[in-house]
Symmetry: D2
Subunit: 312 residues, 4 copies
Amino acid sequence: MPLSPEQEQEIEAQRAEVHETRRVVSPELEKILYQALPVLDHGFVRVIDYMGDDAAIVQAARVSYGKGTRTLRSDAGLINYLLRHRHTTPFEMCEIKYHVKLPIFVARQWIRHRTANVNEYSARYSILDNEFYMPAAEHLAAQSTSNRQGRAGLLTGPEADRVYELLKRDAEQAYADYAEMLNEDEDGNAIDPDRDGLARELARMNLSLNFYTQWYWKVDLHNLMHFLSLRADAHAQYEIRAYAEVMLETLERWVPQTYEAFTKYELGGVSLSSQGLAVVKRLIAGESVTQEESGLSNREWRELMETLERED
Amino acid sequence: MPLSPEQEQEIEAQRAEVHETRRVVSPELEKILYQALPVLDHGFVRVIDYMGDDAAIVQAARVSYGKGTRTLRSDAGLINYLLRHRHTTPFEMCEIKYHVKLPIFVARQWIRHRTANVNEYSARYSILDNEFYMPAAEHLAAQSTSNRQGRAGLLTGPEADRVYELLKRDAEQAYADYAEMLNEDEDGNAIDPDRDGLARELARMNLSLNFYTQWYWKVDLHNLMHFLSLRADAHAQYEIRAYAEVMLETLERWVPQTYEAFTKYELGGVSLSSQGLAVVKRLIAGESVTQEESGLSNREWRELMETLERED
Amino acid sequence: MPLSPEQEQEIEAQRAEVHETRRVVSPELEKILYQALPVLDHGFVRVIDYMGDDAAIVQAARVSYGKGTRTLRSDAGLINYLLRHRHTTPFEMCEIKYHVKLPIFVARQWIRHRTANVNEYSARYSILDNEFYMPAAEHLAAQSTSNRQGRAGLLTGPEADRVYELLKRDAEQAYADYAEMLNEDEDGNAIDPDRDGLARELARMNLSLNFYTQWYWKVDLHNLMHFLSLRADAHAQYEIRAYAEVMLETLERWVPQTYEAFTKYELGGVSLSSQGLAVVKRLIAGESVTQEESGLSNREWRELMETLERED
Amino acid sequence: MPLSPEQEQEIEAQRAEVHETRRVVSPELEKILYQALPVLDHGFVRVIDYMGDDAAIVQAARVSYGKGTRTLRSDAGLINYLLRHRHTTPFEMCEIKYHVKLPIFVARQWIRHRTANVNEYSARYSILDNEFYMPAAEHLAAQSTSNRQGRAGLLTGPEADRVYELLKRDAEQAYADYAEMLNEDEDGNAIDPDRDGLARELARMNLSLNFYTQWYWKVDLHNLMHFLSLRADAHAQYEIRAYAEVMLETLERWVPQTYEAFTKYELGGVSLSSQGLAVVKRLIAGESVTQEESGLSNREWRELMETLERED
């Protein structure tokens, strides 16, 4: 359970306040506003605020004086067209703000997406909570031998037990020593009055990368979709994909027409190289093609056959 | 009058729709939402949407679960502190979206601020209106002889008359010929059925830089303040400053505490170089200082004396 | 001829200076460094500086201490892999700087690519040259009636003559009146001593969008390829495509392996939506598919059939 | 000693290769190109490549055909003017690329500067070295009690001994367990053939934030100066300041005129708020001013008095 009763209360208090606005509203997203959607063992994603909806994309694309929408169908058609032809600027006219709690090693992947605004909890200034990530049994993956960046099957039995033992022991030790070096109780008073305590900005370096941090993260819709297309992908590390999948649900609530187009053109779409396209044309013409004559490398050939669900 | 009755109606229709939201609301900004605030002879600024308020800055700075605010006074103090010490990320957590109508030469200055989202009316796709900027008599400035980038006094009498005559004649001619080359009536039908009409994307190049364009422009609060600190400055060209000044009023409505801090530290603040600071210290100590011994160039010395309102 | 003898001389003087460096060097790009490659009737593209080569991409991808390259073949394979899988960061480790002379309406499209550095010639500060773009006969396109953003066939005969007459007359008039309002000779002295002259920052607004401006434009290799994939595309306006095509040649000189990969995966590649992929699979399986049952819109179906070079 | 003999050799091999180029060259920077400048106990900064020099700033500001420089003095004057008046675009025309080895907690602060290109060593893909940061005795700072984000005096005696003991023990344990979970020898073979080994992307999370990572980091001159003005500041954490100080030396070698202007206007300069300026004017006029009547908060007043080196 990631939230303390006090935090739950703060969230509920904010949810209870309802205001009037002339701005456009996304009703399905309003329903879950501020709620902590759980991810991994201690993490969450909360939608804090948003600007715009599907109609706002259409409005910006048409540089309208009013709402700019015509019929539901023509609006959806325009959104499809814009996404298909990489006219990205109207999607930048919508914005969303999340509060995310996540392990530091996930935060380090995430922050590489630079076109976003970030405010992270500062361990220079404050003391981190004693919460660290432990992979569930179904995610305790072995190293792949074929793909240096990938996972193979699961670790089980004594090897799994040993991994849990090490991860747990080291994280607990790291936190206990962090606390000892800080020498501060909850009110900021010295535990041992004869010691000064190490500066927070130094003590934090004893914590390991599975400890949780949190941040406010704000992004426009175009860049959110770019983030999700990379991080909800099967090649992404499971731990960040878990966040991307929860965020996909918030996307669907927020801008359902855009979500549908995104599913069609990005998540479910594929790219073919010039040579890959040539192979496809020959296959459609009923020719048989081999890797050797295709001009594709072994790896590219394998990727193409997987895309086409062929066994050659 | 920049708006047609139909545009006025669209705006009023959108203003009339009120929704419920759990998001934070900026009451003073809501009052003018969607309204066209006039700028120059045919331009305007309209606030289309916004995300966040003063409290949202505090909330992000504290990475809060709830509203994150404490007392009005401590919140204002935190906002002052953040702005003074260039902790800019919490200000990026607020966002605003404008619809702006502006002369093309102003748009060309404006677009140089890259950290913003823009959707411009497309003259490849649509036909521009017959509206061009004519400076009011009190802004018809002569070229400065001392500052190559500046204005001197006003043009008056026959020289002013002649300038108006030329500007008006050329713009009218340019638009008439644009229309002739397009050969399209309002419904997109050929005026002269024997001609094809020049492609819109080519015909537009006959228009001059004082014709009006329009765009949706969306920016976060930190980058908005950066824009305003440069464009509301006395060194900015009058025509873009006119927009900045109207946007300052929207800033004051939106985030009044931030506006006050911005006025104190940015708009009304000054920077001193290391040598400028040395001069100030000596002046405070009652010493007399001359430009020669100050280490400042003539120009820097003059700028410093103006800052200190001294006559030396 | 875009260059004055004096400008030619300046360029040759800079080309004549050769220095020693420990940095990596791109020999084919060095050959044309600083030279003005002509584009349109008065424009050009000049490569002013660059950082990195193909090997620098490999070096960054491997975070190497030395050159990081292994064999030519494995380096090319890595570059292919990186581009295919959208690992864009190593391509950002190369940078190029251009000096470009271009019509203002082209500059306005170009500047929408925000992830680049720009220094434009300032018409607030200096006086623009009397040079404007006139489309060659083979580019004097009529408006498309099917695609509001497109061109159809060429204008010819009296309609073409009339367009040239109008474009030329208006541009010449605009410049003559610009000069009259400025009232400055080449040395900045008043032509008519009884007049002050209109401020440059105002007078420039009388010029039309086909006048030439110039800028320094600097961009990393990833963002350059993004720019080129959009602007060398058949849907781009011819006038900006003309620049993109010349820049493609500089890309080939600079980073030939990357250029080849870019040609395969970006310029010659295609994207299929989830539904488009389903159609392709069925066609390969020998099934016949109609638009109605494909789930694709008319327009998407037509685009797919063009991609596959089928007539259905 | 941060480098292995093999790494030293790779660096020397690259330093030994000298090429001819028509590009501008920065002679003082060439001297140290590729060399590892030591920072902290195991870190370094290496300059890998650069584009431009002081003259290139002037050239861009003048949008020149040739070198664009006039006299040394007038060039320096222009650079001063540009920096003083926040004309930042010409400084963006220079670029530099570093290879940096740094503790992960420093990397996490550094990456917040988004306008830069980064390629980090991947612990998903490769195995991290067994190197972690231990603060030198003169940087083992106690927590400040007055400033939650600051350091007070040094820890000494038994408390310091204990901190070193904990930091060392935990880091060594974390690495030993990381290695055990990976179950890989240097050639990637299983140490214990009966175990699969935990995926690298998971095992890395057991390492603490003082372990070293490395990256290639590329930035333009304007954004480098912004980074340095924040990170070479006395309020920055010592560990990142140590990097900024070494980078300041590379700045001085690269663009000496810009470095001098940067020292005057940024590093040695100060900002005054509107109220702070009012106080300065009154002090110069010989008036006595108290905090109460100044309109400044206690903290602002203290900061101003420190700036002016006054004791009030």
